[in-house]
């Protein structure tokens, strides 16, 4: 079959799976596409390749297109987040030294209670906490800031440092940082190498956070509406396939290949199964909703998610939160997503905004046609974000 080749940049992470699977399992081909996947060394280079037209699409941190729309960061080309690629999937990992200190205070690593973990951390870290994140505009930063400031840790006690995901374990081993927050498999790799212990999954802070998005240039989406639709559909089908338990082993094998993640399939499988090994001692924990690729409308780019991100960014950067929320909303293109997936018979919600943090247990809601299922999306402190409230 004759296909159109689209180039797409990604960072070696488990949540690049929808793009990789779309190409490897034939979902791209079914849409008449071939994806030329380019593994990038850093998030800046993913962003630059997309912004300067070296690639057509990218696997991108969910806050990056929002930050660019707010004029934050080095490059401010207008991007469109046309689909969410994955929800959740981050882990917070502490050094073995810090883990030992936490255990001495009687803290049990339950890998679930964000309040208890944060309070224990505040008790044992007496001066500053040096913590690694993959990029200044990332869900990791948002989750950490939300969590630690809600618990009353002053900003001055946090030393947040940017470190590329594959180098996190090394930085922890070298004593440059005390902890980090990153997407899998890089937390589990630090555990495997004996340098760290997992403290919390990102989902313990926000149970349903948009982690990565499928991004294209806004002008590209306008000039290539059909390619945009086909790309969204290919990735949507890949996410659906990934959500099936019997796809797990195949997906882990594909991702573990040398030119993709180049880490053991067994370590990758932990994310797909949602069962993590917490420390070199081998304790395991199952985490519901550890990483979501399809269920609960995971790939729907809710404008309220963009508004939440924009508000958090604006508050830290000293911008007007109201105008930031307005600008942010426009980047998450639920309109393009709807147009693309309608033909797949996908269930679509009636509205493109919702309260964030208001669902305590899975619910079924009336939709455009039929109904949609939504999953738990609580913040650990029970706050609810209403995108319509000033």
């Amino acid at each position: 079959m004759k296909t159109v080749t689209l180039s797409a940049a990604y960072i070696p992470l488990v949540d690049a799976a929808p793009l990789i699977v779309a190409q490897e399992m034939g979902f791209a081909e079914a849409e008449g596409l071939t994806l030329d996947l380019i593994r990038a060394p850093s998030w800046s280079s993913v962003r630059d390749m997309l912004a300067f037209g070296r690639v057509d699409a990218a696997h991108l941190l969910s806050p990056v297109p929002v930050a660019m729309a707010l004029g934050l960061g080095g490059v401010t080309t207008r991007l469109a987040a046309v689909s969410v690629l994955s929800v959740n999937g981050d882990v917070i990992c502490v050094s073995t030294a810090l883990a030992d200190k936490l255990r001495e205070t009687g803290f049990a690593f339950d890998f679930a209670d964000a309040t208890a973990a944060g309070e224990a951390l505040s008790r044992v870290v007496t001066d500053t906490l040096r913590i690694g994140v993959p990029f200044p505009f990332s869900m990791q930063v948002e989750l950490l800031m939300y969590w630690l400031t809600a618990l009353g840790m002053p900003r001055s006690r946090l030393d947040v440092r940017t470190i590329p995901p594959p180098l996190m374990a090394q930085a922890l081993a070298a004593g440059e940082i005390d902890a980090f927050c990153v997407g899998e498999p890089w937390g589990s790799i630090a555990v495997e190498q004996g340098f760290g212990a997992l403290l919390l999954p990102g989902s313990a802070i926000w149970a349903f956070s948009p982690e990565k998005v499928l991004a294209v240039r806004e002008d590209w989406a306008e000039t290539e509406p059909h390619l945009t639709d086909r790309l969204i559909r290919a990735v949507w089908r890949a996410g659906q396939w990934l959500s099936r338990p019997d796809s797990r082993i195949t997906a882990s094998e594909i991702l573990s290949r040398r030119h993709y993640l180049d880490v053991p399939a067994e370590v990758i499988d932990r994310s797909f199964e949602g069962r993590l090994v917490l420390s070199p001692r081998g304790e395991q924990r199952a985490v519901p909703q550890f990483q979501v690729f399809h269920d609960g409308l995971a790939t729907f780019p809710w404008r309220s998610q963009a508004a939440w991100i924009a508000r958090q960014l604006a508050l830290r950067a000293g911008l007007n939160p109201q105008s930031a929320m307005h600008a942010g909303r426009g980047v998450y293109r639920s309109d393009l997503y709807r147009r693309a997936v309608r033909s797949l018979g996908a269930d679509l919600p009636g509205a493109s905004e919702k309260l964030e943090g208001a669902i305590a247990a899975p619910v079924t809601q009336a939709a455009v046609e039929g109904s949609v299922h939504l999953m738990k999306d609580l913040f650990f402190d029970g706050r609810i974000f209403d995108p319509g409230q000033p």
Partner: protein
């Protein structure tokens, strides 16, 4: 403030760093500082407050520079990745060559251009060398596999080297494959068969 532009070059490889610095010195009288140890990169750079930072586009530590775009204090000067503007296609040329430049807020394009032109020229040479090296390596690898396959055929079917090579070539032609692919298949199969 002195009129000399201050430039920080982030480069681990000593030879490459020297080549970049030498090329820049020929261009103009710059105040150049090389950072080879990338630990705490953002802090090291912030401490020197340079006008321009040059860094390999493939360097994973480049993400730490993004922190510098968020200068928070009143005395800090935010930097932005150089994206061209008045200087036209310079940014694209830089990306093609594999160098990224971070430029302090308010620096005039005509002061940036000579620095970038020099860096681009230098990085183009690096890129060409890297490609050539990779190609040489690949050619060597391929020859090794073909030699091994030839040896196996010579032994198994009692052929001369020439005959063995002719057989490989014919198989490749019949299957519409490259000789090296057939050789690889043979070597892999032989390994499986013990």
């Amino acid at each position: 403030m002195s009129d000399r532009l201050s430039i920080v070059v982030v480069e681990k490889d000593r030879d490459r760093a020297i080549q970049i610095v030498d090329a820049l010195k020929v261009t103009d009288d710059y105040d150049i500082f090389v950072i080879a140890d990338e630990r705490g990169l953002a802090r090291q750079i912030a401490a020197r407050a340079p006008d321009i930072v040059l860094i390999d586009i493939d360097n994973p530590s480049r993400d730490t520079l993004e922190e510098l775009t968020l200068a928070s204090g009143p005395l800090e000067r935010p930097v932005a990745m150089f994206v061209g503007g008045q200087a036209g296609g310079l940014a694209t040329a830089a990306i093609e060559a594999g160098v990224s430049a971070y430029v302090v807020d308010g620096l005039l394009p005509d002061r940036i251009k000579p620095v970038l032109d020099t860096a681009i020229a230098r990085f183009q040479v690096f890129r060409r060398m890297r490609t050539e090296l990779a190609e040489t390596r690949k050619a060597l690898e391929e020859r090794k596999v073909i030699d091994r396959a030839k040896g196996m055929l010579m032994k198994a079917r009692n052929l001369s080297e020439e005959q063995a090579y002719a057989l490989l070539r014919k198989a490749a032609m019949d299957q519409g494959k490259k000789v090296v692919e057939v050789a690889e298949a043979l070597v892999t199969a032989a390994r499986l068969l013990g």
